[in-house]
Symmetry: C2
Subunit: 249 residues, 2 copies
């Protein structure tokens, strides 16, 4: 198996890093890797904010639910959908692009662009022997995150990635069965097939949770996932996004 | 430089493939790579539809603007944000998760999850010597795409990736300067700095377009990008998404 496939397949989120900072060179290599990803219509509608200041990390950690690894890591990256620079350059050219950049399509473009770049950064980091953890918890309080990072309108922070030298690495978590994620030519809506896959996966996940080295528990994926989704979260999102110039129409 | 970094940094979209199909084993390896990406709260809120049927490819190509490479490739993948399986399993458990999965936050989760998975697939494909091209053009007509692929409510097709054996490979397109995409600790809103970066980048891109081997032209990034954004596109998106059970609130 190639080094690339090995890196991709070995991915495990790391939630415990040493405090050793990444070098400027490492940060530059990681961001350059991120920038090499595809981007919708070559718009490059995203930005990356690297956080090294411990006070800023501390603030972000509070928003994200006080996770230690948002503070103690080698570097923290915040990925944002971004049409700020497009707005500026359109103003320079006396063009009106507000209809485009304030549409729901622009929200998709920015979110997809930022995510493709982020995953390149994640793979690049893991290939350097670093560990990573995505921090969606930043979306608990995007007003706070935006204030901490001085983020203007038309820029939407989406998630963070903590990167650093791993102190503890856990086992790889098994994913849904191939056949329940992959459909051929036609989406398979058959409930019998879906339920058979979910039962198979619940057995896999139960065995993983019982056998893993730390934090063992007895839980099925369908039950724990349904429990998570039973409680609506981040209900402020639509209003916040609109207020910041996104998805007006 | 490691093979992983080399693969990531060498990315170029390929828009001309041989008609040789990927093997079932290749498709399985690529999807397994996709599934290894991080996923928000372990929700795995995405699906992948592989398209091998030439008639379905032809339909998708029509929606995407009649691009040949949507038809002639080794395999075509459509990435979807997906809460269909969550809805089914909640019904089995007699739980109501509709508030969660119909929120704007769920749209972000599904879009981010699908994009992280997609980028893993893209890198994996390129590591196998295959070429890839993202096809955001599917969003020109998501009603058509959904009908062609039999996509139910709570599943949103976002983009495709054409994968195959490259017939022509172009030069790598230079990206925005590092310093205009990467900010440290604080978003830099300074217009003087931004404009200096954009001027530098316009010179880089002009030189790239003039010197590339095919399809040379004289264009600046700020001008061509502003021209693209001057014309609002896919204005139906908000209504379509709502109608399919997304971003109701």
């Amino acid at each position: 198996m190639s080094d690339v496939m090995q890196t991709i397949l070995n991915h495990k989120s790391v939630r415990s890093f040493s405090a050793d900072p990444l070098s400027k060179k490492q940060v530059q290599e990681l961001v350059t890797a991120a920038q090499s990803a595809s981007t919708s219509s070559f718009l490059q509608a995203y930005s990356i904010i690297g956080v090294s200041d411990p006070l800023v990390k501390k603030e972000l950690s509070t928003y994200a639910g006080s996770q230690d690894y948002v503070v103690k890591n080698g570097h923290f990256f915040v990925f944002c959908a971004d049409f700020y620079r497009h707005k500026e350059m359109a103003q320079n050219l006396r063009a009106d692009i507000s209809e485009s950049i304030q549409g729901t399509e622009a929200l998709l473009i920015g979110t997809i662009d930022a995510s493709l770049a982020a995953q390149n950064l994640a793979i690049a980091a893991e290939s350097m022997g670093l560990g990573i953890c995505y921090i969606g918890g930043l979306r608990n309080n995007l007003a706070g995150v935006s204030a901490s990072l001085g983020i203007p309108a038309h820029v939407l922070p989406l998630f963070g990635i903590a990167v650093g030298y791993p102190e503890t690495v856990h086992e790889k978590k098994p994913r849904l069965p191939f056949a329940s994620v992959y459909h051929e030519n036609h989406y398979n809506v058959d409930k019998g097939t879906l339920n058979a896959h979910l039962e198979e996966y619940d057995r896999t996940i139960q065995s993983y949770y019982v056998n893993r080295t730390e934090n063992t528990r007895n839980a099925s994926w369908t039950q724990q996932t349904t429990d998570k989704l039973r409680v609506p979260r981040r209900a402020y999102m639509k209003d916040f996004i609109k207020q910041k110039g996104w998805a007006q129409h």
